[in-house]
């Protein structure tokens, strides 16, 4: 076949479809944020979708500035028990995650803050463990 006779064209065609796919599927990039972004500034473009996932069900949103929520936060608890993943066998550990999704609607600065009061089963939280905050520079 002709196509098989010219693999370079086939590769270029496949590459072009792959590379151009983001333009046709969804123009807004999805920025994924987690604990590693705590107290850091993330640059995003205006209109970007920001997905923040924190890995304990005990986190709750405290303050959101210049971010528009997309739906309600999604909590995915991991139920305790012998079949739970390591570290999650006990009730009260808060195993699981909470995910918030926002759109960075305004150019300038934006921020998200979350808090929690428990860091494990009957376990104290240090001050730094109780807070999560990420800043956004929206261009």
């Amino acid at each position: 076949m002709k196509t098989h006779g010219n693999p370079l064209i086939a590769v270029l065609l496949a590459t072009s479809l792959f590379v151009s796919f983001p333009l046709t599927a969804n123009a807004a990039p999805l920025i994924k944020i987690s604990e590693s972004s705590n107290l850091k500034t993330v640059s995003v473009s205006q209109g970007s979708k920001v997905q923040i996932t924190l890995h304990s069900t005990y986190w709750s949103s405290k303050k959101v500035i210049n971010l528009k929520a997309v739906g309600a936060p999604i909590s995915v608890p991991i139920m305790p028990g012998p079949k739970a993943p390591p570290g999650c066998q006990f009730a009260g550990t808060g195993c699981g995650s909470v995910t918030w999704t926002f759109v960075a609607t305004k150019a300038g600065s934006a921020s998200f803050e979350a808090g929690r009061t428990s860091c494990g089963e009957a376990l104290k939280c240090t001050a730094s463990q109780q807070k999560f905050k990420v800043l956004f520079k929206v261009k």
Partner: protein, 370 residues
């Protein structure tokens, strides 16, 4: 060709986007940082003596039925002598810095049909480690045991435990017929030095379960009303203690055992409420965690009855919250007096009003001491 033309536009626009995305720091999803715990439930056939009943009496613990135990092959038997600690005698001078948590006032749910401990819970205690040897002045041997059991004997009939009596079990088909949580009674305690136990001084969840099993139900079927406590001294290492938990309770469906671990936090800052307790910082903090685990075990023994949407049981919702506190002469804070002794015990989630749903009762509530 159109395709190539489209490709060029795609590449031209995608490359800056790629550069932009690469310039965005820290957008990777963090790994779950929880440390692993052994999930195994290994079995063995070690033999323990049978138990004798011995109920709490309000503020008058009766240890007369504690007797010599032959727990494991080759270990030295330990006899727990009846003793009594004067109220507030475990005092050490110093300054306290009280840690205060934040109450979670969101609703708690009861899943209709799930059990609570509606019969009197029987408390079985394994004091694992150097409880009889390492306590220095002003503490003497067995001080923790006596202190703990004095507290429990008074707590079970106090308004503090009364909060748990409002929790209940009910069938899905008869949701208004409620069977409330009952009160605990003391059953038996055993001291098990680590150097005479095959489990040694580093414990996993499975070894904690097996310590309880081999001590109290070696045949493999637990007392259905039993709560098996494994209480470790400060030199015993339990993976996750102080970093993932200060205690926990769990359930083994094969043996029907409700079992719990609480460690001595004297040397673990993550589990210490204050540097100087109203009695002794380590013992006081241990009691608060013990109360936490007992009230959770009583209301959610199989981990399927009472908990909130984020997974918190009643004790979790009020962990490290104290309500009004009183500063003691030694600088430590207390918040409750039971049997003439001042303690610092975390609050519990007191049920308020109910909203009935499909298979679930949803209760508002607040953290309280009675």
């Amino acid at each position: 060709m159109r395709t190539f033309s489209f490709t060029r536009v795609g590449v031209l626009l995608s490359v800056p986007m790629l550069i932009l995305s690469l310039s965005i720091p820290n957008q990777a999803i963090a790994d779950n940082q929880r440390q692993g715990q052994s999930q195994g439930q290994s079995q063995n056939n070690d033999r323990a003596d049978s138990q004798q009943n011995n109920s709490f009496k309000n503020d008058q613990p009766n240890f007369s039925n504690n007797r010599e135990q032959t727990l494991e092959s080759g270990m030295e038997p330990v006899i727990i002598q009846p003793s009594r600690q004067d109220g507030g005698a475990l005092v050490q001078p110093g300054k306290a810095a009280l840690y205060v948590g934040t109450a979670d006032s969101t609703a708690i749910n009861y899943n209709l049909g799930a059990p609570v401990m509606a019969s009197a819970q029987k408390i079985y205690e394994v004091w694992y480690g150097s409880w009889n040897t390492n306590l220095t002045a002003p503490l003497g041997p067995k001080a923790y045991q006596t202190f703990t059991n004095n507290f429990l004997s008074g707590m079970v009939s106090s308004g503090y435990w009364g909060i748990n009596n409002a929790y209940y079990q009910a069938a899905k088909l008869a949701p208004t017929t409620k069977n409330p949580v009952s009160n605990p009674v003391f059953q038996q305690q055993v001291v098990l030095p680590a150097n005479t136990s095959k489990y040694g001084s580093t414990l996993s969840q499975s070894s904690i379960y097996n310590i309880a099993k081999n001590t109290f139900f070696p045949a493999g079927t637990a007392d259905k009303d039993g709560i098996y406590l494994v209480l470790t001294s400060s030199e015993i290492k339990v993976s996750g203690f102080g970093t993932q938990f200060c205690g926990w309770h769990s359930y083994n469906s094969a043996s029907n055992a409700k079992y719990s671990f609480v460690g001595d936090p004297a040397t673990t800052s993550g589990c210490l409420a204050q540097s100087t307790g109203p009695n002794l910082a380590g013992a006081d903090s241990m009691l608060s965690v013990l109360a936490h685990e007992l009230e959770e075990t009583a209301t959610d023994p199989q981990l399927n009855a009472w908990y909130s949407a984020n997974g918190k049981e009643n004790g979790d919702k009020c962990a490290w919250t104290w309500g009004a506190t009183i500063k003691q002469s030694n600088g430590g804070y207390s918040n409750i007096n039971i049997g003439g002794t001042n303690y610092l015990i975390q609050q519990n989630f007191k049920l308020g009003s109910k909203t009935a749903g499909a298979g679930i009762d949803t209760w508002s509530g607040t953290c309280a001491l009675s």
